[in-house]
């Protein structure tokens, strides 16, 4: 079985990061199978509704989440376990994902992307004409 959701190369990620001019980090994700296809969940804490951009180009799915800053400028950071920054990650979709029916929702900082499988092609009867 081929890995149908392969990550993008670091060089390509860096190119997108340079465009946004902000600190970019990789969100942790889960991918699981359902009856209809695949579901992808990504942790995007601090991303408000409307702050997510999902893009499908060719067979590459890119997710970008813009984070709202929590601290004000006059604060001094005393203890740090995470860096403030936007989220970026991209995946290669397999051919059996129906690109037109991809849907996503964001709630409590978790993005859920539904990737439905293409419906199986129906067998087509070809009539044979006899002379």
């Amino acid at each position: 079985m081929t890995d149908d959701l392969a990550a993008r190369t670091p060089q390509e990620d860096a190119a997108i990061a340079a465009q946004s001019q902000r600190f970019v980090r990789t969100p942790p994700i889960d991918i699981f199978e359902t009856e209809e296809g695949l579901v992808l969940r990504a942790d995007l804490p601090g991303v408000p509704p409307g702050g997510v951009e999902l893009q499908v180009q060719d067979n590459r799915l890119t997710l970008f989440g813009r984070v709202e800053r929590a601290e004000t400028d006059n604060s001094a950071l005393l203890h740090q376990e995470y860096h403030n920054g936007d989220f970026l990650r991209s995946f290669i979709l397999s051919d059996d994902v129906d690109h037109d029916r991809i849907s996503a929702k964001l709630s409590d900082g978790v993005l859920e992307v539904t990737l439905p499988r293409l419906p199986k092609a129906q067998p087509r009867k070809i009539s044979v004409q006899s002379e």
Partner: protein, 152 residues
């Protein structure tokens, strides 16, 4: 004239320590997000004029499931994240932490326990802990016992 001084020897250690810190941090940030076993939720603590601000990244948690408490200048946050009833064999990738978690963080100084405000929005918990007013330094008089009959 002494050639070796303990004082400067420790300075060298501090330099080494700083270098190590810097190196560890750079490795850390390179693997951030992909490294397993990092603390969940990640906490940041910052200080402002009147209050301390603690932000915690807790995506996918309900406010009802959170338990925040402060005792003896230690903040404790507890909660749990439910996996959502998906069987293990259905996962192709699993990087997000699941299950119950608990974090404690010592606070730099005493805070006003009564007026802590907590807000959970978009998976980010913000805790505002007002500082207690600093008390005036109190002068303590030192009494020297007069020594009777002492003369030189």
């Amino acid at each position: 004239m002494p050639i070796f001084r303990w004082g400067s020897a420790f300075d060298a250690f501090r330099d080494l320590e700083r270098e190590m810190d810097r190196w560890v941090r750079s490795v850390d940030s390179a693997f951030e997000g992909l490294r397993l076993g990092r603390p969940f939720p990640a906490l940041n603590l910052s200080e402002q004029d009147q209050e301390f601000l603690i932000t915690a990244e807790i995506p996918g948690c309900d406010a009802e499931d959170l338990d925040v408490s402060v005792a003896n200048s230690v903040l404790t946050v507890k909660g749990r994240r439910t996996p959502g009833g998906i069987p293990e064999d259905k996962y192709r990738r699993s990087e997000r932490p699941h299950g119950p978690w608990e974090r404690s963080l010592p606070l730099p100084e005493r805070v006003d326990d009564e007026h802590i405000r907590a807000e959970l929005k978009n998976g980010l918990l913000k805790l505002r802990l007002p500082k207690l007013p600093t008390t005036e330094p109190r002068q303590i008089q030192v009494i020297s016992d007069p020594q009777p009959g002492e003369s030189s």
